[in-house]
Point group: C2
Chain length 301, copies 2
C-alpha cells in the first residue's frame, strides 16, 4: 500500500518508537518501555528510516548508536511527546467541575519541602483532582507543554504565559545549634573554610551566577558535595556542617543562620502557566492555590 518511490509521511507512532529507542539506547530497552517486542521496535525504526530516507542508528551488539541525523531530529520527537501528554491531560480536565490532571514543575526543594501541604489541601477540597510533579529535570518549558504550571526564578517573558509574582525567597548559610556549639559560628569566609561546608557537586548556571557575585563558595572548599538541595538540607540538619538553604526552611527546622551580612541571596520567584489553560477550571484552581500558598511561604520567611 505504501508507495515505494516517494517518501510518505510516516505513521506518527513511529516517532514514539524512535524517541523510546533514543531514550533507552537499544531496541530491547525501547520495547520494554513501550510494552512491545524487540522485533517490532526494530521494524518500526526500519520503517522510519525508509520513510525519511535517512540512517537513524548504526546497529551494534551493545545497542543502537544514534547518528547525527537522529540527534538532530530528537527535539522534534520530544516535542511530540510533550504535546501528546498535554493532550491527554487536557482530556482528563474536560467536563464539569474541578477535575483531571495538572502537571507542575518546581525545584526539588520547593517540591519536597513546601508544596506537599498545599497539594494535600487541594486534593482534599477537589477529590477528582490528579497532580503530577516534575522536579525540574531540566525540561520545564511551558510553551512546549512539558508542564502546565511552573515555578520560575525569573519573570516569564512570553506573553503566551500567565505569570504572577510570588515574592522574594532569601537564601543563606545555616547550621544546627548543636554544630555551632561544638565548632563555633564562622564570622568570615576564611573561617568558613575550616568548617564542614556542604555544597554543590556540578556547577549549574544558577550556581555560577551566585559565585560570580559572592565568591568564596568554591567547589574545593566543600566537605560534602551533592547536587540535590534536599540532600544538602538533610546533611545540614544532621549536623554535618554549614549548608546553603532557604531561610524559611532553616527556621522551620531550627537551623541557625551564620554570616547573614556576608551571604544573603534573594531569589525572586514567579508562578507561570500557559495562557491556553486559563479557562481550564482545574489548572486555574491549582494556579490560584499555589499563588496563595507560595506567597504565604515567601512572606513568612
Amino acid at each position: 500500500m505504501a508507495d515505494p518511490i516517494s517518501p510518505i509521511q510516516p505513521d506518527w507512532t513511529l516517532y514514539r518508537t524512535f524517541l523510546a529507542v533514543l531514550r533507552e539506547g537499544s531496541l530491547s530497552g525501547a520495547a520494554r518501555q513501550l510494552a512491545l517486542t524487540q522485533p517490532t521496535v526494530g521494524r518500526h525504526i526500519e520503517a522510519l528510516e525508509a520513510a525519511l530516507q535517512i540512517a537513524l542508528f548504526s546497529r551494534s551488539p551493545s545497542g543502537l548508536v544514534p547518528t547525527e541525523a537522529a540527534l538532530a531530529l530528537r527535539q522534534y520527537a520530544e516535542e511530540l511527546d510533550a504535546t501528546t501528554a498535554a493532550l491527554s491531560r487536557a482530556a482528563t480536565r474536560l467536563g464539569e467541575g474541578v477535575r483531571g490532571t495538572v502537571r507542575i514543575s518546581v525545584s526539588e526543594m520547593i517540591g519536597v519541602e513546601v508544596l506537599p501541604p498545599m497539594l494535600a489541601q487541594l486534593r482534599a477540597q477537589w477529590p477528582e483532582l490528579v497532580l503530577e510533579i516534575m522536579l525540574n529535570n531540566r525540561v520545564e518549558d511551558l510553551l512546549r507543554r512539558d508542564a502546565d504550571i511552573a515555578v520560575r526564578g525569573v519573570r516569564p517573558q512570553q506573553d503566551a504565559l500567565v505569570a504572577q509574582f510570588i515574592g522574594t525567597i532569601n537564601i543563606g548559610l545555616h547550621a544546627t545549634p548543636d554544630y555551632l556549639a561544638r565548632h563555633g559560628a564562622p564570622q568570615s569566609w576564611d573561617e568558613l573554610g575550616r568548617h564542614g561546608l556542604i555544597g554543590f557537586d556540578s556547577e549549574t548556571p544558577f550556581i555560577r551566577e551566585v559565585q560570580s557575585r559572592i565568591g568564596g563558595l568554591r567547589r574545593e572548599r566543600m566537605a560534602l558535595r551533592a547536587d540535590s538541595d534536599v540532600m544538602q538540607l538533610a546533611a545540614t540538619r544532621a549536623g554535618f556542617g554549614v549548608g546553603v538553604c532557604q531561610v524559611g526552611l532553616a527556621r522551620r527546622y531550627g537551623l541557625v543562620q551564620v554570616m547573614a551580612d556576608q551571604f544573603n541571596w534573594p531569589m525572586d520567584t514567579w508562578l507561570a502557566m500557559h495562557g491556553d489553560l486559563r479557562n481550564h477550571r482545574a489548572c486555574r484552581v491549582v494556579f490560584d492555590a499555589l499563588v496563595t500558598g507560595l506567597r504565604d511561604y515567601a512572606n513568612a520567611a
Copy 2:
C-alpha cells in the same frame, strides 16, 4: 493486550486521524484525505474515544459534529501536525550542502508579487532546494513550527526567534492613468467616495487598525469588495477604480498614487526564523537571500 481498566496513552496515529476528521467534518472525508477507508477511520475515532474516555463526535447522517471536548483538544492535534511536518522537513535538510525543504509564510501579496524571482534564483543556485510557501492562512506561528521562515509586520518578540528588520513598505491609494484621465483624480475623502473604491470584504485586525487611524475607509463606500489583496491589485490594474496597494508594486505596474498626503500607511517589515534553524544550511541560505531580496524591494519603493 490493551488494559481495559486504566486509560492507555493512545496510539499517536489516532491523533492524526482525529485531526483529519475535524478538518473534513466526516469519517468519509477524513478517509479520503488519509488514504484510508471510512470504517477504519471510524474505528480510530472509537479507539481514541475509548482511550481518552470522552465523546469526541456526535454521529449524524450528514457527518460528524465535534463535541466541545473535541474542539478543546483540536489545538493540540494541530500542534502535533505542525511538529511532524517540521520533523519531516528537517530530515530532508540533513546531510551536506544546501538541500531539503524550507517552508515560508508570507502575505498573499508579497508571495505572489515579490517573492517568485528570489525563489527562482535560489533554486537555480541550489538545485537540491525545495520551497514551500504558505500564503498566510492565519496560522503562521514560527514557535509552533507551522513554517520555518516568516515575513512579519511587527518586530518578533520571542527570543527563540532570529529576526532581521527589512524596511518600511509604504501603502497608498492608486489607480491607472487611464482611469484618472476619465474620472479625474480625487483630492479628498469626499471626492473619493464618488469613485469606484476597491477594498476589503471582511474586517481583519490589520484593517481595523488602519481604519482607527485613518477613517474614511468604510466598508459601505467600497464599489468592489474582495479579501484578496492580489485580486484588489488586479482590479485596480484593470481600471476598475481606486485601490489600496504597496507603492512599489503600483510603480511597477504604472499605477498613479492619489491623495498621497492624506493616505500613506508605512508598514514595518521583519523577517523571522526559528532559532533552532540557524544552523540548518538550507534555512540559513534562504533566510539570507530573502533578507537581501526583500530589502532591495523595500528600499526601491
